[in-house]
């Protein structure tokens, strides 16, 4: 099942690698993270210039038609370099929703600015008490003429402080947990009555609690069809996050292996201790399996196969646990150094911990995997 990459895909990978190697060293990332805004707009422009922001979009929408496989290739490299800029949020999640469910007018109005790197987007679906359930929403949207008026609060919205637009899930009918009755809306993040309380995330990014106090929203997709749309969106997001995780796992494994060959204690390299050798073998196996599952998922996303959503949950869980194991062991084997802010190892650990929360933790998804099976 090994993917034979096309020349075009190989070119994409090597150009991303080149860009990141020269412009995204760990120190440059550290500076961007520590800056007032917390990410680099210059970097985002460079991504746009290289065509990365256009890669997954269909040609109809002005993209390069690379689909989920291009997102996989990009995110794997982004994972290796701990890229903080909101590619998943803007391109994969919001861009994917606009492309799949937007009206012709909406696509024309929004997608070109995304591809050009002019506008940043993110999805606001989580609420206090929703945990990882896409259908739980208490934010309401009330029809008023042509518009909808949104009222409610969203929690832990990653990249909201950077965003120009939000896609907000809100209830147009039904009760708190009803699958029906949730709709999606485009909201101008800078509109009056949109309040943000920003905070830093463990992986060095920014997120916010978003309060909507009677703010105008533009319906995206059909009224009441928000949950299936979010599910499709989550599957794609999972594809991208799994690729990012695999990139991070690969880097942690190389760093740990390298360290174990140079760090000496008791007169020998620590890599000569059998207990650590076996640990690193298990880390290697975890990487191999995660890489394979990631490819399997991306191919299914690309083909739009039936049963895709179940596979996405399975991969999110399995790759999530693999990432957690590798991150734990990478810190452990680096000893005190692994605990420091100075070394990149701890930063991979934190990014992996965040991925394991975004769009549902491994425990949530293993259960969803089981339940979808039972339903079949």
């Amino acid at each position: 099942m090994d993917i034979q990459f096309t020349e075009e895909q190989e070119l994409l990978r090597s150009s991303v690698q080149r860009l990141l190697r020269y412009q995204y060293e760990f120190d440059a990332r550290r500076k961007a993270v520590a800056s007032e805004e917390g990410f680099s707009r210059r970097q985002w422009a460079a991504f746009a210039e290289l065509g990365l922001l256009a890669a997954p979009f269909g040609e109809d929408a002005g993209g390069l038609g690379g689909g989920p496989l291009s997102a996989m290739i990009i995110m794997q490299e982004f994972g290796r370099h701990l890229v903080v800029e909101p590619f998943v949020e803007t391109i994969v999640v919001a861009g994917g929703l606009l492309e799949q469910f937007g009206s012709g007018e909406q696509k024309q109005a929004f997608i070109p600015d995304i591809i050009a790197g002019n506008k940043i987007w993110t999805l606001a679906w989580t609420e206090q008490g929703s945990r990882f359930d896409l259908a739980t929403a208490t934010t309401t949207a009330r029809r008023e003429g042509e518009d909808y008026i949104l009222t409610g609060a969203k929690t832990a919205v990653v990249a909201a402080p950077w965003a120009d637009y939000l896609i907000v899930s809100a209830r147009t009918s039904g009760h708190r947990h009803d699958r029906g009755g949730v709709s999606l809306f485009v909201v101008d993040r800078h509109a009056a009555n949109v309040d943000l309380q920003s905070f830093k995330t463990i992986d060095g990014r920014r997120a916010a609690e978003v309060t909507l106090r009677g703010v105008k929203g533009q319906l995206l997709g059909r009224e009441g069809a928000g949950v299936p749309a979010l599910e499709a969106c989550r599957d794609r997001a999972i594809g991208a996050l799994c690729a990012e995780m695999v990139g991070a796992i690969g880097e942690l494994n190389s760093a740990t292996l390298e360290y174990s060959k140079t760090r000496k204690q008791f007169g020998v390299t620590i890599g000569s201790f059998q207990v650590l050798q076996h640990r690193m073998v298990d880390m290697f196996i975890a990487h191999q399996e995660a890489l394979s599952l990631m490819q399997h998922l991306s191919l299914s996303l690309d083909a739009g196969e039936a049963g895709l959503s179940r596979l996405a949950s399975g991969a999110k869980s399995r790759i999530g646990y693999a990432g957690k194991f590798v991150a734990d062991q990478a810190v452990q084997l680096h000893g005190g150094m692994g605990m420091t802010d100075e070394l990149n190892v701890g930063h991979y650990f934190k990014r992996i911990s965040s991925i394991n929360i975004q769009f549902g933790d491994p425990a949530y998804h293993v259960l969803r995997y089981a339940q979808l099976d039972a339903a079949a």
Binding site: T155, A156, F199, T201, Q332, G336, K350
Partner: protein
């Protein structure tokens, strides 16, 4: 689980419990005492215990200890940790103090012990170096005799709370020609000496607990040498053996489990399938604690009968740290999406954190607790100790 106590010991337990209730400073009840308190705040409880004569349970009466039996020491440990009080600085009270009264001379005892008890001197530990972590015997910091001084040069690292310290106890190499373990001496160095520089190390949770300590031509009077030159390794090993049961951290784990239960109850509705999973995970870790606590009580009972428990400390360290890591992970998982947030250091009430208060330190605790299986002899090293010393492998 409780020890079977004599009526006198039971009365002692009640007395300790009441004393904590009436005297533990409210000021020290902050979200994360390990990182959120100033030096002065950390010392508040120390001074109260010193006033009561309970600051150094381990110490013999003649040096200012309370003269407790092993059972009473254990009761005190149990009650203070269960109540979530901040333990007095271990480097001063549990580590260097006993070395000084066991191996130090009268002048050293007179100079240092009262100031440790009162909290006037804050000690840190100069053991690890960049090249000497698990393999402590290879320390390279050099001390060269020059008249009635040693001239010390070297680099100590992972030095906990050195930023507050008045003194550092150091392993230094005094005989470069000897075998690693035989050329080491135990030296007390005034942190105010010229040539001592402290550089903060920020850890992945954003906090500042540990430091690099650089020693450049630091002149240390020879009277600050503990015991004999080149016998430092013996004293260092003695010190490490002093920790014993406290490593199990039963009181702390029990408290964090209670907190975790409350968080799960508040965060996850009972009809959510995740609820059952948490209930099961919590029960598993509770049983881990129960098994370790039973082992601890068995060891304490043996010690009370004069039986040396041998390398029990290694078992307690391994299991105690694994259990606590598991609890902090579960807690971080329990708060769901709020687990993405982390407090900024230095901590300030002005900075916004999402979600209920009980989750505000969960990310930090989760990240910070990764250190537990690394420091104080990594868990791999502890397993080696048991393999060699207990199993004879």
């Amino acid at each position: 689980m409780e020890l079977a106590l004599s009526p006198a010991d039971a009365a002692f337990r009640d007395e300790v419990r009441a004393f904590i209730k009436d005297n533990y400073p409210a000021e020290m009840r902050v979200p994360n005492p390990e990182t959120d308190l100033t030096k002065e705040q950390m010392l508040l409880w120390h001074r109260i215990l010193a006033g009561k004569g309970w600051i150094a349970p381990l110490w013999p009466k003649e040096y200012g200890g309370p003269g407790w039996s092993i059972t009473r020491r254990f009761i005190f440990e149990q009650e203070t940790t269960r109540a979530g009080t901040m333990p007095p600085l271990a480097f001063s009270v549990t580590m260097v103090g006993p070395v000084i009264y066991t191996f130090g001379n009268d002048a050293q005892k007179k100079q240092f012990l009262p100031r440790i008890l009162s909290g006037e001197d804050w000690w840190c530990q100069g053991y690890s170096e960049p090249g000497s972590g698990s393999d402590l015997a290879t320390v390279r910091t050099k001390a060269v005799r020059d008249g009635d001084h040693y001239v010390v040069n070297g680099h100590k690292t992972w030095t906990t709370l050195a930023q507050h310290a008045d003194w550092i106890f150091c392993l230094v190499r005094t005989d470069p020609a000897a075998k690693p373990q035989s050329g080491i001496s135990f030296l007390l160095i005034d942190m105010k000496s010229p040539g001592v520089t402290v550089r903060p190390i920020i850890t992945i949770d954003g906090s500042h607990e540990v430091n690099d300590v650089f020693l450049e031509n630091v002149r240390v009077p020879v009277e600050n040498l503990i015991g004999e030159e080149n016998k430092g390794w013996t004293y260092a090993k003695f010190l490490l053996g002093n920790e014993r049961t406290s490593m199990a951290g039963i009181g702390r784990s029990t408290r964090y489990i209670e907190r975790l239960k409350k968080i799960v109850k508040a965060e996850i509705p009972e009809d959510d399938p995740a609820h059952l999973e948490f209930i099961r995970d919590i029960a598993r870790v509770e049983l881990d604690v129960l098994a370790l606590e039973a082992t601890e009580l068995r060891v304490v009972a043996q010690m009370a009968r004069g039986i040396d428990p041998g390398p029990a400390a290694s078992l307690f360290k391994i299991r105690g740290t694994e259990i606590f890591q598991n609890i902090t992970e579960l807690t971080h998982r329990a708060i769901g999406n709020d687990g993405l947030a982390i407090r900024e250091h230095p901590v300030s009430a002005n900075r916004f954190m999402p979600g209920p208060d009980y989750g505000h330190t969960a990310s930090e605790k989760y990240l910070n607790s990764r250190k537990l299986s690394i420091y104080g002899g990594s868990n791999e090293i502890q397993r080696n100790i048991i393999a060699k010393a207990v199993l004879g492998l």
